[in-house]
Symmetry: C2
Subunit: 479 residues, 2 copies
Amino acid sequence: MAKEQKKFVEDITSMDVDFAKWYTDIVKKADLVDYSGIRGCMIIRPYGYAIWENIQQALNNMFKETGVENVYMPMFIPESLLQKEKDHVEGFAPEVAWVTHGGTEKLTERLCVRPTSETLFCDHYKDIIHSYRDLPKLYNQWCSVVRWEKTTRPFLRSLEFLWQEGHTAHASAEDSMERTILMLNIYAKFCEEYLAIPVIKGQKTDKEKFAGAISTFTIEALMHNGYALQSGTSHNFGDGFAKAFGIQFTDKDNTLKYVHQTSWGVSTRLIGGLIMVHGDNNGLVLPPKIAPVQLMIIPIAQHKEGVLEIANQLLKSLSDCVRVKIDDSDKSPGFKFSEQEMRGIPLRIEIGPKDIENNQAVLARRDNGEKITVSLDNIKDEVIKLLDTIQNDMFNRALENREERTFSATDMDSFSKQLEEKPGFVKAMWCGDKECEDKIKELTGATSRCMPFEQEEISTTCVCCGKPAKKMVYWGKAY
Amino acid sequence: MAKEQKKFVEDITSMDVDFAKWYTDIVKKADLVDYSGIRGCMIIRPYGYAIWENIQQALNNMFKETGVENVYMPMFIPESLLQKEKDHVEGFAPEVAWVTHGGTEKLTERLCVRPTSETLFCDHYKDIIHSYRDLPKLYNQWCSVVRWEKTTRPFLRSLEFLWQEGHTAHASAEDSMERTILMLNIYAKFCEEYLAIPVIKGQKTDKEKFAGAISTFTIEALMHNGYALQSGTSHNFGDGFAKAFGIQFTDKDNTLKYVHQTSWGVSTRLIGGLIMVHGDNNGLVLPPKIAPVQLMIIPIAQHKEGVLEIANQLLKSLSDCVRVKIDDSDKSPGFKFSEQEMRGIPLRIEIGPKDIENNQAVLARRDNGEKITVSLDNIKDEVIKLLDTIQNDMFNRALENREERTFSATDMDSFSKQLEEKPGFVKAMWCGDKECEDKIKELTGATSRCMPFEQEEISTTCVCCGKPAKKMVYWGKAY
């Protein structure tokens, strides 16, 4: 018995009916990911991986412009090395995978599969940093890491995921602080300019900061359903790791000093953000700057004379300025439209016999469904202009959604009520005590997302306990 | 007490005195690699990683031109999945790392860290291949793999290494055979044109083929000391894995058939090859096409008026056509020369006050030490031409070395004697029996490297047993 041919375009769950189901439908049906036989580990398929390659390339360029160099560290960390920094091991040990056997032999010391590589970079820096001339060290690596999570979701939380982790060492506290903020700003710029995702920049509270950091900074994005997504973090370690690992250098004044360090990372989680910020009930919607295919040419009545020829001429003339493909398969145009929409390709050209007669083609936008008819004489300019417009409109639409879903609260009743009615960011004052953070989470399910750089004075007292407020905080339910 | 500043340029062991020590000296002193605290795992430092990035980029382009798409598979393989193909598991199980615990829990099934990912790709192909329309599948991934080796050496043999592994599925045996050879040819082209390393293309004997393959093809390079390095392999699996994993498709004739598969890979081992084919007693020598820095400008008497200015003008005018850097640090020119030579930068420009007076500069070649004086007016053309010449000369020199170290043998006495006097490739006839292969290894230490595509008839009888010969084989001691 022959297997049935797989049907590509199927209805997906409406995002208003079940957002979580809508998300996993898109992930599967836009061919981004497939599930593997290993719990919580995903297969990133060619289309999903092509998005990741575009993210990597753009970020790599931005990193290298600031002097960052790529390296590769081992994927294994000996248990004793992981334990060198007290806070760090407490944060990560409960969620690592342990290698206990190599071939048929039991290892004398367990190795964990890296959940993050601070300890390895520190161990290396200890060996290669001697003088102020060796500083700063601005290293980054692209790799996969493993965290033994209980519940997983493709891109958002998985046992193994791809990321980059930057690790730097500096001569002074000022330098490490400056680098921490520099990288946060690069992440913000990348998210806003490439992914068309507006972000709030700010600092994490002590409760939410990275294990072993003195301060953690974050960019927080708001998804279509009002949930927050921590989209990138940058940590300042001060000299804590340097003291634990003995990373010292001889400064210009000939005295031995500890280095000051940072680390910063973004991951394939960003692809989850792309889906949940821009996607709709027809599938994925990709911003042109990151889309593997920016433009799909779909010939109409392609069996008619001249249609495929003109369509292929268009392909050729456009391929030097946009990432363009043609779908000349034997599927129906309607089926091809659905496929292109499911995959979030920003723009399509429809061209049939009548269009050719009139020396024109139809441009259809994925983001808002608009169609315009343009002359074939200046279609190249129109395409370039339109891709630019789509990129900007997508950002503005995401910003609008965030603004519509950002509220202020001065008491817990209004905090809870607003969050329940329309999930989003709640701006509220905070006294600085962990007890209030815990209580807010207990009452509302919201966590502190960040203390934004752009502070406002919503009131003078803590939204929870009424004591004098120290900071305005963005709160929200989060992935 | 202040640590001493690290001395960069130190004498390295002469390759004639101790080739192995010479190799590890270069690996360390050219800043390619550092040792980590984990046995057999290396840290690839920025300079080493930049070479790998160049290798990746060139190969990626060549792959993509043939329709290959990149994906990412999980790094873990459940024990039961690894065991699905009998020969494959026998080949790999003895040398894998086993994860037995996730967090604090003992796993119900052990996971191995991938030594290679045939089993994962098969498991995925089983799910996504249904019809002839889904074929071919041409997937590749860039990742790290782990093999629990007893003795290790940076780049050549390590517990963890970086590589690419391509895995394809086809509708027919002809298609999979064609792809196997296509990828071997791409590897050969890449090695010869980019790495300036001449290779012998051929087929592995049954004894040396990949676990689970019906045929394995290889490119074999000869190192400076006459040892062979298997530099890339391409395997044809026929439908063996498809049957073990149940990967079937409905063909055009509406019958269910098994797919035919291939896999192929190269690794960071290629960097080991670069060192051992081109390096000399002053350090690394990199072919221009793969060198992270192709040209180093070294100002002479840079404190004198105008020197740094002109040197920087050169930097600027050359940077649009070559990967160029300037060393304007406060080290002496001699020290800078040694550094540039140790790192194998193909070309340097020396420019001082007298050169500037005469509107000229000195170009010094890394590969043969030649210096020529050129006018500043056409230095750009000279640089481009010279880099091209260096690339070609390096290939020809490597080819010459190989030819000088390739012998024919018709009996075991001359086989052993020649190999002992001057290690290299021995061309000799073989009857096809594993017993003779084993005996030749026992007597001489040489293994069969490949049955080359270009067969010659050295004699009509097996060099070992005297029975009628089936194939001419390249034999050699190998890494």
